[in-house]
């Protein structure tokens, strides 16, 4: 079930079938990500394309099983859709993935290091004040705090978590600034050609690039991928994505502000304004905007950061009667659609049945090409832990099939 479908179901149940909704909500509370039990005999080399959550999790696992591997990243930084900024406020801000969409024990599962001696502080993210802006009216919906909760990092970020606990063990295996333009699997080994003409060779390749990159055919395959696979790749809907953080002198906004009817807003999860300092140890007033799909396009199509922030402040001024402009201090915009190796938000919907699309994309090619990423997690699509789960599953499959 997609996150969107799950939320839709839970909301419908929460309102219409109260006696079942708790069971539904409980079902997403704790998700065990088990480290695969591998006894393969694979002794070749693996190249992971993409150093986002899935690529890094795959590297973490391959290292655990003493497999020779290398991670190739097109961008000048690792992290993919995990990104942080530390000098904007008095706490680090997630410019990409921000919420922990399942029980935080998943962090321990991702690390799978029972001997680690480390703790991490988390926030129970249950916004206490929620408002909607609908048809020119601002309404309170504070009861939402009793229906909705997730988790967030208190002192760190998703990027920070990987930076501290996963990347140190992989750093010498990650090569940045190396866009792969061609994957040739016509021979016994897979050859990867980079933008600079470099040729890398591996026995198996795990592609963890965003679906949007596969859709836009930035990477050519030799021979071309089967039609069934390219069709499936095209059936994943990924829209625009943008996050804006604005510092204000005063906190005139609620913990969460949604747009349109409350149920529709929570069902679609396409645009929220929220108190980014909620639960943080901060004396600053930081407001965040999260928007995807058409709601994000409304900003990204404006072209420049100046036009985007002007538009956003004008919206806030209309809602909060001019307080935004009067209280404005500074802002930062993260336009994910403009990132050349990301090009959008995350998988949002599927044109066919999700499992059918995912299975078609996941299906290994010639036992040498494998695919993983947030879009390919059936149960936890569109999340960091879903990306990690997909990576773990695919690595297990890769090594077992050797």
């Amino acid at each position: 079930m997609t996150r969107k479908a799950f939320i839709e179901k839970a909301l419908k149940a929460g309102i219409g079938l109260p006696f079942f909704s708790s069971l539904l909500l409980e079902s997403c509370n704790r998700y065990d990500l088990d480290l695969p039990d591998l006894h393969g005999t694979f002794e070749g080399k693996v190249i992971i394309v993409g150093a986002g959550a899935a690529g890094l999790a795959a590297g973490h696992l391959l290292q655990r099983y003493d497999v020779d591997f290398e991670i190739i990243e097109a961008a000048p930084v690792w992290g993919g859709r995990m990104k942080k900024i530390t000098d904007f406020a008095d706490f680090p801000i997630d410019l990409g993935a921000e919420w922990i969409h399942t029980h935080p024990a998943i962090l321990s599962d991702i690390l799978s290091s029972p001997d680690i001696n480390a703790d991490i502080d988390i926030i129970v993210y249950s916004p206490q004040t929620t408002q909607t802006w609908n048809n020119g009216r601002l309404r309170d919906h504070n009861y939402i705090s009793k229906l909705y909760s997730e988790w967030k990092f208190k002192h760190t970020t998703w990027f920070g978590f990987f930076e501290e606990y996963i990347v140190p063990g992989l750093e010498d295996r990650i090569t940045l600034n190396t866009p792969v333009v061609e994957v040739d699997y016509s021979m016994g080994k897979v050859q990867l050609k980079t933008k600079t003409g470099q040729v890398l060779e591996a026995d198996k390749v795990l592609l963890t690039v965003p679906i949007k990159i596969l859709q836009s055919e930035h990477i050519a395959f030799v021979p071309p991928l089967a039609e069934a696979k390219t069709d499936a790749i095209g059936q994943v809907s990924v829209g625009d994505g943008i996050k804006i953080f604005v510092e204000f002198q005063d906190c005139f906004y609620p913990d969460m502000l949604s747009f349109g009817p409350i149920l529709k807003a929570f069902r679609e999860e396409e645009k929220f304004v929220y108190n980014a300092a909620f639960g943080k140890e901060s004396s600053r007033h930081i407001l965040g905007l999260f928007a995807i799909n058409e709601k994000a396009t409304a900003y990204t199509q404006l072209g420049t950061d100046a036009a985007i922030i002007e538009q956003f402040l004008a919206e806030l001024d209309e809602i909060f009667e001019g307080q935004a402009s009067a209280s404005y201090v500074q802002h930062i915009i993260q336009n994910w659609s403009a990132e050349p190796y990301i090009q959008g938000a995350y998988s949002y919907d599927f044109e066919d049945k999700q499992w059918r699309v995912v299975e078609a994309i996941q299906e290994p090619v010639a036992d040498r090409l494998f695919f993983a990423g947030e879009a390919l997690s059936i149960d936890h699509q569109a999340t960091v832990h879903g990306a990690c789960a997909s990576a773990f599953d695919t690595v297990a499959r890769m090594l077992k099939e050797s």
Partner: protein
């Protein structure tokens, strides 16, 4: 405010039982505040007054537990007065009640996750609430011993940092006739 609420609870709990029939009831059921939370409650209900053939006024004192999984746990006391348009021997009837709950919730605000084993040590915060609410219900009168109820409530949650909030809940359960009166 809380003291007044306790007073109301004590007054209702101490009300002299005036009616001779029907017998008091014990309600045990599932209680789901805000639709998405889970809980249970037990209540004692008895006739307060009967007017004519079909107008019955009952009092009902309820205590319960509810939880928002992984976020909060709560307890409540809820005295209320209930109106039942119910003829003698009528099996199904509607009900309307009005009362006020005193609730205490213990909320998890943040915690420390042990990365080795995934255990979380939570830091909690307690809050008192007063929740005046009205309820509409459908009840099945106990025949011999066992009946049932289904009710929906709406009210306002007062207290905590955020002032007034809407409150709604649903509950369902069994009603046991206590047969303690002649």
């Amino acid at each position: 405010m809380q003291a007044m609420h306790f007073l109301l609870l004590m007054v209702l709990a101490g009300t002299t039982l005036q009616a001779q029939e029907p017998p008091p009831e014990l309600h045990i059921g599932y209680f789901a505040p805000f639709g998405a939370q889970i809980g249970g409650s037990v209540a004692y209900a008895d006739v307060l007054k009967r007017l004519g053939g079909m107008h019955q006024w009952w009092w009902r004192a309820e205590a319960g537990y509810f939880a928002q999984p992984n976020v909060s746990d709560g307890m409540f006391l809820h005295p209320e007065v209930e109106y039942r348009p119910c003829r003698p021997g009528q099996h199904f009837y509607g009900s309307f009640s009005i009362g006020s709950s005193l609730a205490y919730t213990l909320s998890k605000r943040e915690g420390t996750l042990n990365l080795a084993n995934g255990d979380i040590e939570y830091r909690t915060e307690g809050t008192w609430f007063i929740i005046p609410r009205i309820s509409l219900g459908i009840e099945v009168a106990p025949r011999k011993r066992l009946g049932g109820y289904l009710r929906a409530s709406y009210g306002q949650q007062l207290g905590g940092d955020n002032g007034r909030q809407a409150f709604f809940s649903a509950s369902a359960g069994l009603a046991f006739s206590m047969h303690s009166k002649p």
